[in-house]
């Protein structure tokens, strides 16, 4: 019934559009159209509804509401379209239509972003809504999902060691301290304005101490973990609350076991433990341990001390815990994957190296980058030189390889917001990989 009542005519910037209220209802109540058709507003329609906006963009957005697909004609600048979508309150619709749910085997290179920062990048981190941040020396460049750059972030312009997203509006940065000045440490920043919102303090024996913050990790119950190096013996892992910003805990480093220098922290929700990995070349040996903060206990540990004489090339360069299979995946500089069983007490027990062909051994690039690992929904990613390999299945079969011609080796990469970001060591460039929207049928 009332099919004709459903029809609506718009005059957008002089062009007439005809559509239905049903189509516009797809925009949701929190949009321009949702409010427009609310009964509060007296929508007496003597003539066409006039909207003083760009008709070309309206056409694209109307099609988005009609089909759920985004098709941008070449004559429309993306920025303009984003701006129009902001006006109508359709920016979230646009973002979800822009790229599909993440699948490591169906990625395509969406864009490469070149920066103007001097020197090599340190780290790249994907944000939860498709944005990313890149640490370069002492500053962090922040990009939203439209890849528009926001004001940079710095903590007293001290060398940045790691960054991480708490949510799409907040970024945590960890930096080196400057001796005697109390600079550095760890801070919480607004991702859109770049302002410092909170600086995390570490105190020992009720005295506030300056410290260098290293690798970061977050837990779902709003905790921040970072490896800390203080002036004297205050080495270890600090824990803070994301909401109050207060220090909750500190796990002091046990002798001979480097926690304060850790390269990688990973919170394991299932085990209620934190994985801490300190790796070559920061230290001569590799140390991997699982910490239980409830009773301050190192519940599991592994080290390669005394195991290098026979297989010198098999130095662990990165490690990632895979809770589902109760194992830790490690990688060496030739991108050989190895697995350590977390159920057995470590104690230098064997790494089960998978026998992948070592094609790399012959031609190492001039500026090699150490391999990095990432895990995303059952797919394992490992970066090596200028490419990223994707492994699937319980036996971790190599299924895809992401490679791009320029920019040099990949020094870091990150997956989040259904995107993969790869940071190259040369040319100051990072790539954005996206999954295509699902097929029509």
């Amino acid at each position: 019934m009332g099919l004709s009542n459903d029809r609506i005519r718009f005059n957008v910037g002089g062009r007439i559009f005809e559509t239905t209220a049903t189509t516009l209802a797809n925009a949701g109540r929190g949009s321009f159209f949702g409010a427009l058709f609310d009964e509060n507003w007296n929508l007496s329609q003597p003539e066409d509804l006039f909207i003083d906006r760009n008709p070309d963009c309206f056409a694209v957005l109307l099609d988005l509401l009609r089909t759920g697909d985004l098709n941008i004609p070449p004559n429309i600048p993306e920025r303009l379209l984003h701006k129009e979508a902001m006006f109508y309150g359709l920016i979230d619709h646009l973002r979800t239509a822009k790229w599909g749910p993440f699948d490591g085997n169906r990625l395509h290179l969406s864009r490469s972003v070149t920066g103007i920062a001097p020197g090599d990048g340190t780290a790249i981190r994907a944000g939860p809504d498709g944005g990313c941040c890149v640490a370069h020396g002492s500053v962090v460049h922040v990009f939203d999902w439209m890849l528009e750059e926001h004001p940079t972030i710095n903590l007293d312009y001290q060398r940045v060691n790691d960054v991480g997203w708490i949510d799409s509006g907040n970024i945590v940065l960890s930096a080196c301290e400057r001796l005697g000045r109390g600079d550095g440490g760890m801070g919480l920043f607004s991702s859109s304005s770049g302002e410092l919102r909170y600086k995390f303090q570490v105190s020992h024996d009720n005295q506030i101490k300056s410290y260098s913050a290293g690798a970061l990790s977050f837990s779902p119950d709003s905790k921040i973990f970072t490896s800390c190096k203080g002036r004297s013996n205050e080495y270890g892992i600090g824990v803070w609350d994301q909401i109050t910003g207060k220090q909750l805990d500190f796990f002091y480093e046990s002798p001979g076991w480097s926690l304060g220098d850790a390269d990688k922290l990973q919170w394991l929700s299932g085990k209620n433990c934190l994985l801490v990995a300190t790796l070559f070349p920061r230290k001569d040996n590799c140390y991997i341990s699982l910490l239980d903060f409830r009773d301050k206990n190192m519940v599991w540990s592994w080290s390669d001390i005394g195991f290098l004489a026979t297989a010198e090339e098999k130095r662990v360069r990165d490690a990632i815990a895979m809770e589902e299979s109760n194992s830790i995946c490690v990688v060496n500089e030739f991108e050989d994957l190895g697995f350590i069983d977390m159920r057995m007490d470590g104690g230098g027990s064997s790494v089960r190296w998978s026998s992948r062909s070592r094609l790399m051994k012959s031609k190492m690039p001039d500026e090699p980058c150490y391999p990095k690992l990432a895990l995303h929904e059952g797919q394992l990613f490992s970066s090596m030189n200028d490419s990223i390999s994707v492994f699937c299945g319980s036996d971790w079969v190599l299924t895809s390889r992401l490679k791009r011609s320029y920019g040099g080796s990949i020094c870091d990469f990150s997956i989040g917001g259904d995107r993969l970001f790869a940071l190259h060591s040369e040319e100051n460039v990072f790539d954005v990989w996206e999954t295509l929207p699902p097929p029509i049928i």
Binding site: F32, A35, L36, D38, N40, W41, N42, D52, G89, S192
Partner: protein, 732 residues
Amino acid sequence: MSNQKKRNFQIEAFKQRVVVDPKYADKTWKILEHAIHEIYNHNASGLSFEELYRNAYNMVLHKYGDKLYTGLVTTMTFHLKEICKSIEEAQGGAFLELLNRKWNDHNKALQMIRDILMYMDRTYVSTTKKTHVHELGLHLWRDNVVYSSKIQTRLLNTLLDLVHKERTGEVIDRVLMRNVIKMFMDLGESVYQDDFEKPFLEASAEFYKVESMEFIESCDCGEYLKKAEKPLVEEVERVVNYLDAKSEAKITSVVEREMIANHVQRLVHMENSGLVNMLLNDKYEDMGRMYSLFRRVANGLVTVRDVMTLHLREMGKQLVTDPEKSKDPVEFVQRLLDERDKYDRIINMAFNNDKTFQNALNSSFEYFVNLNTRSPEFISLFVDDKLRKGLKGVGEEDVDLILDKVMMLFRYLQEKDVFEKYYKQHLAKRLLSGKTVSDDAERNLIVKLKTECGYQFTSKLEGMFTDMKTSHDTLLGFYNSHPELSEGPTLVVQVLTTGSWPTQPTIQCNLPAEVSVLCEKFRSYYLGTHTGRRLSWQTNMGTADIKAVFGKGQKHELNVSTFQMCVLMLFNNSDRLSYKEIEQATEIPAPDLKRCLQSMACVKGKNVLRKEPMSKEIAEEDWFVVNDRFASKFYKVKIGTVVAQKETEPEKQETRQRVEEDRKPQIEAAIVRIMKSRRVLDHNNIIAEVTKQLQTRFLANPTEIKKRIESLIERDFLERDNTDRKLYRYLA
């Protein structure tokens, strides 16, 4: 020079063009401000959403978000102050209604303002971390209206007043109530809790405090409980009708505290209507209500349980220590069973079959059943009574039911070994006299005892049954091998294994020749089929059926004991015998002989003999003749010896002594077992462990345990530690 000037000029011109006309912002804001006014004045129909939205968008786009936001706060505050004034002026009942109407208006206006300012909400408010428009509107309403000095207390009092009215039975406008309270909830949990819920709970506590005092002064316990039940239901209804669901637990606990918890003691102990009264009169409904109400408050059920326990113990104590009531053992046990049934039913019907109440019941029974040392004997006698005749014509299930109940009492006994002793005696009598009604029932009970106390407890009892069975078979074999015996007197022999049966002194007597010939034949048959055995005759336990013909030709079959048979057989050869002659001929010990003569000569209706001279007692100078004038309307006459129903005082002492004697080796065995595994143990621990190990059979006396330890030390099983005299060592 001119070149430079020109460039300067150019830059300035550029600047002027970039800065948006400040008047533009003012103008745009005026439009939006006007719109907000119109919205609050219910005059929004002429407004164009598209235009307002665009204007708000433009202000934010041109960095006037701040102006827009502060303008919004000012305008909205202005309107809320106006609204506040109008509400303040409202009189009486109109107050709440007006407040509700204005709240609805404000909500609607807020929604429209939010629509217009959607872009600002999404961008400017988010990046500057300001309060979002909707929340801002709620905060301003809260601060300007709800917290206004002239409204805050008035509003609260109005609401509490309405609740009070409803509690006292008036009808109120629940929808209005619901809407206003919903307003508190919408303003945030803390507003609802601090500004409504807390005072509401306080007022409720006061109300129910007064109410409960009134009730308790005017009602008895049962009535009070009925009245206390009501508000609990009503308050839950109230929560459903117009409060936040989270308030249910809080208001319920207030009612529970004021109506129940504060009066637990007084209610339970209320004179003539408290718990004891309910228990006595089986007031299931009242007790059920008390249970379900008291379980809501801490210590409520504990109090009920304690009072019940106290009452039970008092009642039980009276029952078992009243000498009048322990005269008849069967009735005594029946009373116990009746009480148990009564309380079982109470717990089942009123106390929700609560485990803790059942435990209290059991421990109370255990307490008072053992107050009377004769309880084990009486229980055994009760069983004896039931298995002798009481169970005749009763269905198998009912038998089981009665036996189960008896077992329940048995479980309460601390001195289970005493019970065993008596049970054995009574069972032996039943078996030997063939008085047991149902073999199944007997075995059934043995099985129950076995599951309760283990194999050891019943092995001897089972041995008694086996003896009965084998005796039957042996006897068949005996007569098969001696076909010539089918004529003449029949001998029935029960071969009893020594140890399985209650030991009784063997009393020898001279059997009549006819019988002793038979006995000899049986002896040689039995010893011929079994080697290494010894037979001795328990003549004191036998019976005989003899046919007698009296002077006037009346024939009777007399059922007599073996001793009586021996005496009567003497009269086959002579008519008149003196006591001395009888004693000489039979060699029956004097007390037994006297008893057996007494029952044949002095009991009216059973006097087959006549004594000269006539008197009640048997003297050594008496003479006896056959009573020719003996008459009975029955053909079969049973001449019982005077059987002891209840044990006499000396017998009781004897049994007790035997029990004590039997306990000694058991205590010693327990001590040795414990010491063997522990090697070294101090005195107190030994006592505790021994008591624990033996408690399934009896409650060991610490002094006795100490004596046993000393005896074991003498016999070099244990030694005292040289330094610590309280310590004992096990010697292998």
